[in-house]
Symmetry: C2
Subunit: 314 residues, 2 copies
């Protein structure tokens, strides 16, 4: 069994809770380290085992992620898988000095977004992915490396994204040695047929590369897109507790696809998640008390799971 298939068993669905990373990306007020620990501990007790926990960046730029090292330590002690962003050499170098289990790098689908977001070309970003892989492989902790392909379904700057560009970037990153490729609908442009088409296209071109999907619910398509991704064979899906993580281009819009609703979707589709929905929903209390200004989203938290049917099956 490879390290990858140990962490992401290919025969089941893995849901990654990204609230402590993407969910905090735009907030002014954020949870204390102790509250993040409580968040992780309680989600672990609910059955969640995969988390994105922050970003290796100068604390000045993103103070909400200043404790990413501590959080990776907490994840190790909780025996859960932790992933964190590293967007440059320095971030990756920092990351391998922590027990973080996965480094997430990013390449934008479009040249315009790559320049605006990271001040580098897509080719430079791909080269950086290769260096991160080398660094990870040569480190003692040997974290997995994932590349997230941002704006894979539409770009807030360039508009339409050519699926061929996404496939080309995915192929280059695969050649560079990444363990997993994430298709990211960064600002919620995707529709379900588009998700199915792009996943099938990438799979056709790249064979059995490990794929994940990162969805935003900006335009209400998040759950439908997740359903389409599952239908297309995706087994690793990101979501954030209470749908935290707004959209910088749509003030007031919903954020990431709601993790709780994602659990329900998977179970309704016959995929066992191992997650206790009631316990999971109770963790919203932590988010609510630490970030009282943030709107919490989600349908299950309003309606509750059905009491009359066995919803953990089709």
């Amino acid at each position: 069994m490879t390290r990858l298939s140990e962490i992401y068993p290919p025969d089941r669905v893995v849901l990654r809770e990204v609230g402590l990373r993407d969910g905090l990306q735009m907030v002014q007020r954020y949870p204390s380290t102790a509250a993040k620990a409580e968040w992780l501990r309680r989600e672990r007790a609910a059955g969640v085992r995969h988390f994105e926990i922050g970003s290796f960046l100068p604390a000045k730029a993103m103070p909400q992620f200043a404790d990413v090292r501590d959080i990776s330590d907490i994840c190790r002690s909780l025996n859960v898988h932790s992933a964190a962003l590293a967007l440059n050499d320095r971030g990756a170098t920092d990351a391998v000095q922590t027990p973080v289990g996965e480094i997430v790098t990013v390449v934008s689908s479009t040249e315009e977004h790559s320049q605006a977001n990271a001040r580098r070309t897509r080719e430079e970003a791909i080269a950086l992915v290769g260096k991160t892989v080398e660094l990870a492989r040569g480190s003692e902790t040997s974290p997995l490396v994932q590349v997230g392909i941002a704006m894979a379904f539409g770009c807030s700057i360039a508009g339409k994204v050519d699926p061929d560009d996404v496939v080309r970037i995915a192929a280059a990153c695969s050649e560079a040695g990444v363990d997993m490729i994430g298709l990211a609908d960064t600002v919620g442009f995707a529709g379900p047929d588009q998700v199915q088409d792009l996943v099938e296209r990438v799979k056709n071109e790249l064979g059995d590369v490990a794929l994940s999907i990162h969805l935003h619910d900006t335009r209400g398509m998040g759950i439908a897109n997740a359903s389409a991704a599952l239908d297309a064979g995706i087994r690793v899906i990101d979501g954030s507790l209470a749908g935290l993580g707004g959209c910088p281009f749509a003030p007031g819009a919903t954020g990431n696809v709601v993790f709780e609703d994602l659990v329900y979707l998977c179970e309704r589709k016959g995929f066992a998640t191992g997650i206790d929905l009631e316990k999971l929903m109770s963790v919203r209390e932590v988010a609510a008390s630490e970030m009282p200004d943030e709107q919490l989203f989600g349908a299950l938290s309003r309606a509750g799971a059905p009491r009359h049917i066995n919803w953990r099956a089709r």
Copy 2:
């Protein structure tokens, strides 16, 4: 061309806005007749052509539908298709004395819900459907007759619903001569795979009967279920403006699937709806000012349609 295919062209998607019926089912305060007229007029200007407008019931029982005759007149003058519920002989008799274009009858999937909701057996309900068809056929206005099969995906009383029961009811109603059969997820139990399975099952058993689907977003699956229904060949879908229409079994829960988001879904999937989303969303003003206590739902109204991509295509 039959009357049915004139009203519901089989080669395109028809979205029916049920806010003035299901959306008002549980409200204490409801729009005036003038406001309903404005609602219809503005939605018509946005491109909506199919409405559910109320229920033929004693005004004492449901005062929000006391003006259903006037509303059916307004629909005629606007040249839009109007449907309204008639749940007994008297309702159907009243309905054919108005210009309402379609009578909607209801049969529950489960004996328990049939008794609790309508104080009759399912067999009695099916017999009533037959009488309604006869009455409609023999009337001057000759409205279409649809049967909505309530709780088709799960029942708030009996729990699990046997798909065979739904198929059997659908077959009996088809034999009784209904023009269309609606599969209703009355309180939002369905998941996308279940939708696809049931639609395929009904189609396999009944051949090319006209089918519609009525979805609630109680547990956030509404858009995913609509997408699955479209994938399974359904071309007539109900939704309500701003997702009006709560769930009596889940206070605070979302109601019908949000009409605006449904328009977006269809367009993203390549189905032209003929509906102007901006104009449609502006009609929320009418609902907001007439029913200030009701929560309005919807993702498109928060985020807006994408400005950077041509979202009216895959």
